[in-house]
Point group: D2
Chain length 377, copies 4
């Protein structure tokens, strides 16, 4: 594995490294870890990379790694840069035949995303987008139950992603995390909608197997002087006739990272909260609510396959993230081995999910600009 970005001062790069390393099957061996070549080198030294595989730019990385032998070169790269630096390294990676793990949202705009999608398809490469939250075992369980029909037809979806950390103009205090997320030149046309709204969208569509058909959004920037949205409420209509609400907000003061989802069918419903990810409430019309718990014997195959320790030993965000890496790596390995991957491993967000996220951003922003007009995805 090689890494683009994630050097000194970065946050999500370290998370990727832990997630990739948890199962002891993936090793970071190369990197172009910072936009500043000097810092890129220092960052590589921090991580004990071999000097010859510390690259000053991602271009250099792709050029040199692609010339190494198949047993030596990195099998894939992880792209953990801000949004405006996803496309070019991803494109280069694909063109040089490397598989890719890419941070979300997939790209700076939809057009870039579609180009990447085309490249992935034409080159027969593996491409994961780190919509981490669908990596939780309980989300696999929810999907299995919701798509099995046990609740009847799905009627209503409420998905929320409130955070409070951008309640103040943090981007004007030197916060690197706040700075690029609120900068249209680095983040794209959306703020909260892109940063966390896409997670909510991905969760809702993944868990239900439904597609959002059209949406109506009220998009707001509450903090004076901020250049991108920090709050949106979105009415959803799904392709099966279900209705729903999606909320994403970074000015919900006092909230941490409170992604949650509720899905209602004709006969029952599920409720899940990311803060307590090993628990799912399963509600019924005519019998007591059940509380499903990760690691229990009654969990389905997909959930079991993504669980590492027994029930009552809480697994968290890093393990969910690691699930994406493990599945991705297994599929890459199968490809290298020329065999079909175990279907249980074909369970991570792909470039198609990434493109879907870009379409979602476009639709929400367009609807917001048109005062909530319904926009078709």
């Amino acid at each position: 594995m090689g890494m683009i970005g994630g050097g000194r001062g970065a946050f999500i790069g370290g998370v990727h490294r832990i997630a990739a390393g948890i199962d002891g099957q993936i090793e970071l061996v190369a990197g172009a870890l910072h936009v500043d070549p000097e810092i890129a080198v220092l960052s590589g030294q921090d991580l004990y990379l071999k000097p010859e595989r510390i690259y000053r730019t991602y271009k250099e990385l792709f050029e040199k790694e692609s010339k190494l032998g198949p047993d030596e070169r990195v099998d894939f790269v992880s792209i953990v840069t801000p949004n405006h630096v996803h496309f070019e390294p991803a494109k280069l990676a694909l063109e040089h035949g490397f598989h890719v793990v890419c941070e979300k949202p997939l790209s700076f705009n939809l057009e870039e995303g579609k180009q990447l999608q085309a490249l992935v398809n034409s080159n027969d490469l593996v491409f994961a987008v780190t919509h981490t939250y669908t990596g939780y075992p309980m989300i696999k369980q929810a999907r299995e139950m919701l798509t099995s029909g046990v609740f009847g037809k799905i009627r209503r979806v409420v998905v929320e992603y409130p955070q409070g950390w951008l309640s103040t103009p943090l981007e004007r205090t030197g916060s690197q995390q706040a700075s690029w997320r609120t900068d249209p030149k680095r983040s794209g046309k959306a703020g909260a909608v892109g940063d966390i709204g896409t997670h909510a969208e991905n969760l809702a569509e993944t868990i239900t197997g439904l597609k959002i058909k059209e949406l109506s959004a009220d998009v707001t920037t509450f903090v004076d002087g901020r250049l991108l949205d920090d709050d949106a409420s979105v009415l959803l209509r799904f392709d099966n006739g279900a209705k729903g609400v999606l909320m994403c907000s970074q000015i919900s003061a006092g909230e941490e990272n409170a992604l949650s989802i509720r899905v209602y069918g004709e006969k029952g419903s599920i409720e899940w909260h990311q803060h307590d990810p090993n628990t799912m409430f399963v509600k019924w019309l005519d019998k007591p609510m059940e509380v499903y718990r990760t690691g229990q014997g009654y969990m389905g195959a997909a959930a079991q396959a993504h669980t590492r320790v027994p029930a009552g030993h809480p697994e968290g965000y890093l393990e969910a993230f690691a699930n994406i890496y493990r599945d991705f790596a297994k599929v890459v390995q199968a490809k290298l081995d020329g065999v079909s991957p175990d279907p249980l491993h074909l369970d991570f967000p792909t470039v198609n999910d990434g493109v879907r996220g870009m379409e979602f951003i476009d639709a929400v922003i367009e609807s917001g600009e048109k005062n909530g007009a319904w926009v078709t995805l």
Copy 2:
């Protein structure tokens, strides 16, 4: 106290009688308890009313009671009939000089509501509408904190009222409660929006002190053959610039009566759930979440005045309901005594709240019919 409706087969009438009686200050002495005069009489006997004060119709009640001496006649009547039988008895009550407690929504349509409002004002009578949920002590506390500015300017409101009991066509199984609520001739133009949406609206405006300025709604009937809405999602814009979402649904399978509200200001937020009404979560940008609890010494004056037992002895729905009756009765008593009421007792929903609810219904239904167009209240 006299009662209109609430006889055999009714539900909410019994709740009103408990709520009125809890503090031992209000006695039911007269009633026209059923639309069928025979059942009205039997129902009065069930409740041990004196034969001469068991009336066969509400018209008879008003005629005869109004001729009794001031110490003998009922001081007020409670109207606990279906929506289409609110207006006429309320009008008669006011015209005969009786104070009124009326079930929500106030009336069958907005026009009726406005007539009642005019009558209340011109006759200087006391009129309560039983939006029960604002009777909880914790709601008083939330209102006190939110309107004090301790959280800064309010930015975001999420109020939800999911129920699941109408997930199936219950109205076709003989359920009296389901039957009239889904019948446009008895319920009015709205189903869930009127029955529970108005509670959510009343809670949101009461707790924040803000007014909804405009709204955009997606209104749905999910159960085949049902004549009124059973689900609505509404985008809200408040008069101070705050945004919000209101959801009311009676097809949220597996939910009981899960009214909840979250209000976010610049510096913090509150979260309250009706299922655990003695608890409120108070969240802050920079310090630990606090958990407020009914009956504790740190609670404000309004909450304390509406609490009967010490912290840790849970009070519930009936006590919240009783708070409305107690406040109403105290204000009626003050009026009878010719003195000013204690401001602590001027804390119940009035005919103005009732009219507001009717305006809300009109706006939501209109927006729904116009595919989510923004409608001004």
Copy 3:
């Protein structure tokens, strides 16, 4: 209904009045409401009692009421005085043929309790002891499930009653509630053990249908200068071989009234918390935990019979208290009518439960004095 104690400055008397009045079937018509005759009279006036039935002493009450006709005299009295004034009025009541509701613990010492028990039995009178917490509908449900064998043989019971309100020497600040509870002359030989430990004991034995066979206690007074215990931890052994722990503490700083119980059988278990009394967790060896909720259709007959409003409309402490009064009154009424009471109403703590509580107090205090020696009940 007549009342002994509960006048000005009292707390629990008012609770009894609400509880007795909620269902509109019981009326307070006479009282000897304070040990000071002058205050007794003023207290009676506060409650609008007729002057001739405001008594200066309980002796006077019994003498005069017993001379009234059967339709006029009170059917029963409620004794809501401190512990040292339970026995004498209860004895007089029984000797004069009045049924009795008595606060817990039953008496000042076990000997008194046994005398009352003998009087109740020989006079064929109805006697309730207000162990309020077994009045909750969910406790009826727990008892039904635990005694049905659905969980197999019961193996383990953990019952706790932590409070924090006596963490400081509140009795030296003028608090009437703290003062008598920590005074051996008024409370008896036990502090926390009598005041709340007996509730925990009653709950454990009621819910399981088991009897504590022997116990070993560590009894402590943490607050300097306090004359009675304020904390106890007790190991329990039940008659069927089950083991358990009972904890009662009034120095558990920060706890409100956190009575809870867990009972484990061979196949599953239940968990209930008084702070959220309408919820019970039902856990199983091999399937998801279920969450039972008051008012739902799947609840058993005993729970349903003690529920007033639909699921999701929380009932609380006052309704649990009212359930004791309602059952008691129904049984008294059946006795007056010369008929057999409905078995569903024979569901309140009796003088036998009261005597059991006194035995428990004796055993815990004795074990505590003997450094935890096992003491047989």
Copy 4:
């Protein structure tokens, strides 16, 4: 790092490998992974160890590794075998100059534990015992607050460790995990008391900074035919006068791994549950309960140093485990570098904690055999 045990069919070995690997600083390079030499070899191949460092016995491992150069040999070994195979490999490791991570309980009996303690001290080696649960960041926070005096003197401790997985005779169904834990020849004199009671003891003493002075235990074997205890309730007395209760049970049907602790001081208290390890309830006499959350800015230095991701991204059991490994490795590294370790890293359970656990086991079993007599630790 080398590993003793943890090969095919094992559970906890894999957990150790993940925990050691999460931060990318520790690499498994050698192992004697099974008591059966053939399986030991296969297990080493499973993990891609170099053939020359796959050992058939731990004796061979120590002999050969100790002959390697200081840059090549393992710096430490992890012992993840059943209890009866802790002492000998640990002793050999220490005698050969290897630092040690050892599973709990430390040894088969107290005498062995004391020998190891003496060896560690005389050889100046680093020895960690994996009482995982004190590795959670929130436990660091609790310890910091409790020992700072912010709650005043500690009065009461309730620590519980209920599990349900041994409610049935699982050891007779071929379960390897159940089999050795219930076998006196492999587990030692205690079952649940050793397996999970020692975790509870370690948590209570670590978090409070107090020592258990004496205890009184009721120790039970509920499952017929089982050879060791599966349930114990223990009264505790601490060296500062505090009292407490410790419960450990593996027949608490329906419980997962529900370790929890509550500690009460004069002015407030804390409550923590392992199932939701990033949350701690902080309760006060006179102000609202606060909810502390891992990753928030108000957390103390020790908690911050053991947190990997921002608030709202739940960390779990594996990260707690990894904290022990990281601290241990940092201290080993400092020792190798001849420098003083950062005090923040001296924060893992040592051989002294291990010996304490063995003393606890002895005391509980002795008290149980003496029908609850108080036994001094």
